[in-house]
Amino acid sequence: MNGASVLDFARGPVFEIALAMLIFGIAWRLVGIFALRRPVDYSEPRAGTGWGSGLRMIVSRSWPRREFRERVLHWDIVSYIFHVGYAVAILGYVPHIMLIRNLTGLQWPGLPGGVIAFAAGLSAGALLALLGHRLTSPVLRRLSNFDDYFSWLLAFTPLVTGLMAYYGIGGNYQMVLGLHILAGDILFAWLPFGKIMHVILLAFSRGTTGAAYGRRGAPI
């Protein structure tokens, strides 16, 4: 396959299959979770229904509690660099905004290419650091499974191929761009089936936990 056919393949049938898998997977997981039977709580609520606590927990769990701060704060910061850089690269780059507009009709002004490249570079660096941490920390290594490493690879590949396409590294531009879009397609397809689903489930899981705790009167 030459560069042109890889690009056409990635923009054509593979993208549609990835989109179908993304939507199917999200619908399957959300409906599967929300249609589950909830255990009946016979206890008297101590602080209303707990919805306020649920919303508070979505925010409060985004930063380590004071007790753990000294031990984990720096890794949280590295993680934030990765996430913010990733979000800037995805949501700020005009070709990406064009894709979002094509899918949803939504659009917003983009950022200069240099800013995007800087954000993507930082994000890639942070991802490498996080992988190093995962591999060197005995506890994290024990907790990690295939999903962690595979999800890491799927998050890292679009960043690297995107930077290569931007800077014209790696020879044939069409091939590099095609591989970048292909990497994005695979990320799309895998998202609902692995741990990357946290981009959608994060709010639900934290909110549900916060609501349950709040109902019982626990401080959030």
């Binding site: 030459n2 560069g3 042109a4 690009l7 056409d8 923009r11 054509g12 049938p13 993208f15 549609e16 989109l19 179908a20 898998m21 993304l22 939507i23 199917f24 997977g25 999200i26 619908a27 399957w28 997981r29 959300l30 409906v31 599967g32 979770i33 929300f34 249609a35 589950l36 039977r37 005009v94 070709p95 990406h96 064009m98 894709l99 094509n102 002004p109 983009g110 950022l111 200069p112 290419g113 240099g114 531009y173 069409q174 761009l177 879009i181």
Partner: protein, 364 residues
Amino acid sequence: MTDETIRDVLTRRGLSRRAFLQVCASVTAALALSPAEAADMTKRLETAERPTVIYLSYQECTGCLESLTRSFSPGIASLIFNDISLAYNDTLQAAAGQAAETAKDTAMKNAWGKYVLVVDGSVPLAQNGAYCAVAGRSAVSDLKRAAGGAAAVVAVGTCAAFGGLPYAAPNPTGAVPVSEIVRDRPVINISGCPPIAEVITGVILYYTTFGVPALDHLHRPMNFYGNTIHDRCYRRPFYDRGMFAKTFDDEGARQGWCLFELGCKGPITHNACPTTKWNGGTSYPIESGHPCLGCSEPGFWDKGGFYKALSTPTGHWSRTGVVSGAVAAGVAAGLSTAAVARARQGRAQKKAASADSEPKNPTS
């Protein structure tokens, strides 16, 4: 080849050496040759024999020849009267019918194994090639016969180089590019819809003096197809700064911002438009406010739409079908999974309830 050298012809026609050097300078500049190569080219052009050129047209629109006739340096008249011996071209020649075919056969016989075969248009293979015939012969048999005696084949235009419009889906005529028919001769692809006139003449003159030029993986001369439109585009700084025209008449379009959002295929298109330009260096499509269509790349008709940004999907399937199908399947799968889980929960609860209701063993 004719016996006369190019220099002999120019002298006979009363062209001064200065005029000859001007032609050489403009061609070497267009080819981006080094000063040493430019001097070498001048020397070789002086002594080179005029090559016999046979120009065949198949499934095409004559746009490529229209483009060639607008070559400024060298002009088409200078090219066909001075630099080459054009033995056959069904549009430019005065002869027609049997006389033209006889002239072609004679030229081929006289220069067998030495002539340059220029082809524009794709070659249909469906229905035994019946979709395009010249003088009672199908295009494919005509091309095979002519290519048999050619020193090299120059495929002019995207139709000849990559199939072009006739090759676009669903390709009803079974069109193929020249390179699929001619496999035992060097094929130089000069793609574009149409190609730039100076690129066609420049490549022919280069072949006359140096032979086959360095080619890329699609057999296009690197001198003209080595860079993308995006690499040399004067609007590139706006791309880097994230400044894009959103429509053809907005402020961005008036300010000359990047046309990526309007579907510009410049980043993936290799051609010399931004440097050589058109109509004697007047401008090129992007300079006129229109995005690059990517006409010098294979399959440019089937890349999802001229006005679709490169980063957007080509729309391979119906978007509504994909989304609604995936949602329906996902909801069904989710409900089924939840039903299984609920049934399991129910059984576990019943089991727990029956365990609670059983009388406790007083001894335990």
